[in-house]
């Protein structure tokens, strides 16, 4: 489904810096992989490249046979809208929308209208344990609940790939553990592929595979 091959990225400027080279990664539906690495290793950069938010120096990224590196901005945006879901460390839940409106955002962008939209939102909220909280506003929610909203928003439109970058960085250990479990379950139950970027070994262990990002590429780490 998602095939990354020979991906190389460096930053230009007065002090050019090679970030990583020759990254290969292959994900099928239901795969859930953790990417670890030192700070500055390029984990977020790799996610940006996969999401089509940044362009590589060389290499290819293919999603369901579509080569992302050859697409223009509008096509990439459309692809992202349809096939990607995102979970951020800082939640990025819009404070002026209700929980249900926040979750419905990707559906609205895809042109899905009521009653299908409402039904999908209700269903995904139930899935993340926020049944009946659709009309709450974000300021009434705890950090863990906000991240559940973000997970629901990442999955409501049934994306092919979910990209989560340190989704538990702002949460306490117990809440983090619940959120990680939920994220894994939801990705799996929706049949999506997931990439979790994390510094935490414990978090990484909720995934099927653990990879280490180094300047020379992605290397598998033994579980445990």
């Amino acid at each position: 489904m998602l095939v990354v091959h020979g991906l190389t990225k460096s930053y230009a400027g007065p002090r050019p810096r090679a970030v990583f080279a020759d990254v290969d990664l292959s994900l099928s539906a239901g795969d859930y992989v953790a990417i670890m690495g030192e700070s500055g290793a390029g984990k977020s950069t790799l996610l940006n490249l996969i999401a089509g938010l940044d362009s590589p120096d060389r290499g290819s990224i293919s999603l369901d046979g579509t080569e992302l590196t050859t697409l223009g901005d509008d096509a990439l945006t459309a692809l992202r809208r349809e096939r990607f879901g995102f979970v951020f460390q800082a939640f990025h839940v819009l404070p002026y929308l209700t929980v249900a409106q926040n979750v419905a955002l990707p559906l609205s962008l895809l042109g899905v209208v009521a009653p299908e939209k409402d039904a999908r939102v209700k269903s995904v909220l139930a899935g993340v344990g926020l049944d009946g909280r659709g009309q709450s506003v974000p300021r009434e929610l705890s950090g863990g609940e906000l991240q559940r909203v973000a997970i629901a928003r990442a999955l409501v439109h049934a994306p092919r790939v979910v990209l989560a970058d340190e989704p538990t960085g702002n949460l306490d250990a117990d809440t983090a553990s619940q959120v990680l479990r939920l994220l894994r379950d939801q990705i799996k139950s929706h049949g999506a592929a997931g990439i979790l970027v994390t510094h935490s070994r414990a978090a990484a262990q909720t995934c099927d595979r653990i990879m280490q990002l180094t300047p020379t590429g992605l290397h598998a780490l033994p579980p445990g």
């Binding site: 977020s44 901005d73 945006t77 951020f88 002026y96 929308l97 955002l105 609205s108 209208v113």
Partner: protein
């Protein structure tokens, strides 16, 4: 001991100003523009008034008191009586006339003095003559240096004047040194009386009292002995009376300039409010590090002070340059005609300089105070969390303070003038603006709730965002609401005034042709023979003549105008636009006069009131029979029946005539006949009503040109404010846009969302601005104009002009919003969500 966190505070302060260079610069420029306009207006009008005062002081010389009366003068027999009074050391009679120059549309002030008396009272008026007898020759005059250069005459040259319809030519015997920039000429009093048809009359008598005499006590004694219509006063009272005529205009201009500064202050408020919200976590950090609320608030007010100091300094320099350019291009009267003939010298006036510097700094500091207090009040723990800045706009404050302020404004609008100035009217306007701005979040909530929510897409998101952050709408709109309300109120006021003026002109110009003895000055007139010739011209069906005089009713005010004209009691509405009356006089009541609105306001000459007027040195009783609308004489005017005037004064001369033509007579042919067949007829100013209307409306537009310029400045500052605040808002919402781009929103969709927000915010601003503007226009029309100039007018809303302006402002502000949002659509902005990763 070093206060904790102070170095961090300095870093935050410097960082904010440097980081937001564009917005800081805009704030500085907004304050600079307001200060520049205010300082320029103060410099120009101050210099012109100062020049007038210098002129009056120079002409009065060492006089302790002056006896003045009607503009046409009074019996010279008063002079010897004054000279014989025991307290008077020297009395110097003066004949003063604004003599119409024969070959140009201009006047020269002629001062006729008794050289032997004037030497002791007004030595500055005595010029050195090659032949000392020149000072006594009736055909010689001495011109001031300003007049010599303005008229291009030198010693030995000639000046021709129009007297009646004749030409009188006088020779220039020399130049009077001094006299500042005043244009005048001095000649022997007997020569002035003879040449300018003032036999046996003087305009004033200047008195120097004996040493040790109490001037005020002497003034009271002398006043008791004067005939009716004459007043004795200190020379400086004349300066005050002269200033009074232009004072309201000057104050109005200053207030308009201050509005530009106020709008600039609102721009600073918007910028500071958004900067403070954006830096909420940083400021909370300072509080956590140990900075007190007071220190934090002081720090933020200091930011405003820096903007104010830099802006004011730039504004003062700009104001001086602007003032010089304006005087050169428009003139010292800024187009209004109050200071015609005055060429002031502009200097860096220190008092206005200090006042406007302090005003600029104070307004910038006050503008920063509200956001500073808001930041100081924020709980540090909550403010430290990401996302708290977005919540700052979601709170709604109670609406009662805004309503109370608007109510106070309504009460202020009912208050009478203070020293002839509508100070409470201005206060009412300020309170209406401030109250409305305080209510903006509530108004925004109401209006946004009334808007139907689009079914989906960016417009829906935009509306939801606005509904969730009403405070943001208020902050963004502060400057634009103030500017739009000013624009609308001025547009309504000016349109009401113009339409009323047009209707008034139509009413007061019923004849086919109008003839005036001279466009300016008081030496041109139509004698009885001239009038008879005019009336007898073939093609003239009927003729009405009018004599214009000026009476001194109150020495502390300018003279009022007395208009002696034919009155058809059965057809008063045709002749005068009565706004009160007519009153039917009871049997035995004194004869009627009709007064303009200024007389009602200034002298309380209400319909039915019995009054006394000093005419021909005697007090005559009259009944006020009605009040008429008049846009020409804000100092006051009284209409009297001409036959009655002639009976009282014996003066059969006229200053203008209205002619009704027989059917089929061409006005142009009749004009040529007047110029050719009547001796001196070529000097008459002849115009059809249409021409007079056109000239009057042009003069009106010229007068308001400066007003338009000041208004435009305020609107530009308002748009800057919107642009600045929108830019800051977009910056503060960059994570939101980044997230939206992540989840698949295109650049176009974000642009559409921002355009919807810009359009909605601007539409709310326009709606509120229009409502507020309409309210302010009522105050301008019924309070400010009425109390300043005593002009009544009907409300007239220029719908099409306002609609066009609304479309332009809406388009500009929407474009501004989109332009500000371009940053939000860049690739860099998309990655901002990672700032937290």
């Amino acid at each position: 001991m070093r206060k904790p966190g102070l170095s961090a505070a300095r870093a935050v302060l410097a960082g904010s100003l440097v980081q937001n260079k564009a917005r800081s610069t805009l704030s500085v420029l907004a304050i600079a523009l307001g200060v520049a306009l205010g300082y320029a207006v103060a410099l120009i009008t101050g210099a012109a008034v100062n020049e007038l005062a210098l002129g009056v002081q120079f002409l009065a010389g060492d006089a302790d008191l002056q006896v003045r009366g009607p503009r046409s003068g009074f019996d010279e027999a008063v002079y010897p009586r004054l000279a014989r009074l025991p307290e008077v050391a020297v009395a110097s009679p003066v004949v003063e006339a604004d003599a119409k120059l024969a070959d140009r549309d201009d006047v020269l002030k002629i001062i006729g003095v008794d050289v032997f008396r004037a030497g002791a009272v007004q030595p500055g008026l005595i010029a050195q003559a090659g032949d000392r007898l020149d000072q006594l020759r009736p055909d010689m005059l001495f011109v001031s240096s300003a007049a010599a250069s303005a008229l291009g005459v030198v010693r030995g040259g000639e000046l021709a004047f129009q007297v009646g319809l004749r030409t009188v030519t006088l020779r220039v015997a020399g130049v009077v040194p001094g006299g500042a920039q005043q244009r005048f000429a001095v000649m022997d009093i007997a020569g002035a009386q003879t040449n300018f048809d003032r036999p046996g009359r003087v305009s004033r008598v200047d008195l120097r009292l004996r040493p040790g005499i109490d001037i005020d006590a002497a003034r009271e004694r002398i006043q008791a002995q004067l005939p009716a219509g004459l007043a004795v006063q200190r020379p400086e009272a004349g300066v005050a009376a002269g200033e009074g005529l232009s004072r309201s205009y000057r104050v109005n201009l200053n207030v308009l300039a201050l509005v530009a500064l106020f709008t600039g202050g609102l721009l600073v408020f918007s910028t500071q409010a958004l900067a403070v919200v954006r830096r909420r976590p940083q400021l909370a950090l300072l509080r956590v590090l140990g900075m007190t609320r007071r220190q934090l608030a002081s720090l933020l007010v200091l930011e405003g002070a820096i903007v104010g100091v830099v802006g004011s300094a730039l504004g003062l320099a700009g104001g001086f340059v602007l003032a010089r350019a304006a005087v050169r291009v428009i003139g010292a009267d800024l187009g209004a005609g109050y200071f015609r003939g005055v060429a002031p010298t502009l200097a860096l006036a220190p008092i206005p300089l200090v006042i406007f510097f302090c005003l600029g700094v104070t307004i910038a500091m006050l503008a920063s105070l509200v956001p500073a207090l808001e930041a100081a009040r924020a709980a540090p723990a909550a403010a430290l969390k990401a996302g708290d800045e977005e919540r700052a706009f979601s709170r709604l404050r109670p609406s009662w303070p805004g309503l109370v302020i608007i109510g106070a404004g309504a009460l202020a609008a009912l208050a009478p003038p203070v020293a002839g100035l509508p100070l409470f009217g201005y206060l009412a306007i300020a309170l209406f603006v401030i109250g409305t701005l305080m209510l903006m979040p509530r108004i925004a909530v109401m209006l946004l709730a009334a808007l139907p929510l689009p079914r989906g897409g960016p417009p829906r998101l935009a509306l939801l965002q606005l509904r969730g952050a009403p405070g943001q709408v208020a902050v963004s709109l502060a400057a634009i609401v103030a500017a739009v309300s000013l624009m609308v109120s001025m547009a309504i006021m000016v349109a009401s005034f113009r339409v009323s003026l047009d209707a008034w002109l139509e009413r007061i110009l019923p004849a086919d042709l109008y003839v005036r003895a001279g466009a300016a000055g008081d030496t041109a007139y139509l004698g009885a023979d001239d009038q008879a010739r005019l009336a007898a011209l073939p093609g003239v069906r009927s003729a009405e003549f009018q004599r214009e005089q000026q009476l001194l009713l109150d020495p502390s005010r300018p003279r009022v105008v007395l208009l002696a004209r034919s009155i058809d009691a059965a057809n008063l509405a045709r002749q005068l636009q009565l706004v009160r009356g007519p009153v039917t006089l009871p049997p035995g009541a004194p004869p009627p006069v009709w007064v303009n609105e200024a007389m009602l306001d200034l002298y309380d000459f209400a319909p039915g009131k019995l009054i006394e007027l000093p005419i021909a040195g005697k007090l005559a009783s009259f009944t006020v029979a009605g009040v008429w609308r008049d846009y020409a004489r804000p100092q006051g005017a009284i209409v009297i029946e001409r036959e009655r005037y002639i009976a009282l004064t014996g003066d059969r001369s006229a200053t203008s005539a209205a002619l009704w033509l027989a059917s089929g007579v061409n006005p142009d042919e009749l004009s040529r006949a007047i110029a050719g067949d009547i001796p001196g007829g070529s000097r008459l100013e002849i115009a059809a009503p249409g021409e007079i209307r056109e000239v009057s409306l042009k003069a009106f537009d010229r007068t308001f040109a400066v007003t338009y310029a000041l208004e435009l400045a305020a609107v530009v500052i308002g748009l800057f404010g919107l642009s600045s605040s929108f830019g800051a808002l977009v910056l503060s919402r960059r994570r939101e846009f980044g997230m939206l781009r992540h989840i698949g929103m295109t650049r176009r969709q974000i642009a559409a969302m921002l355009a919807t927000e810009g359009l909605t915010i601007s539409a709310i601003g326009l709606l509120v601005g229009f409502g507020l503007g309409w309210l302010i226009s009522l105050v301008l029309i019924d309070v400010v104009n009425r109390q300043s100039f005593h002009w009544g007018m009907e409300l007239n809303v220029p719908w099409s002009a306002l609609a066009s302006s609304a479309v332009v402002v809406l388009a500009l502000s929407t474009l501004t919003a989109i332009a500000s949002g371009r940053q939000a659509m860049s690739r860099r902005a998309v990655l901002v969500v990672k700032e937290d990763w």
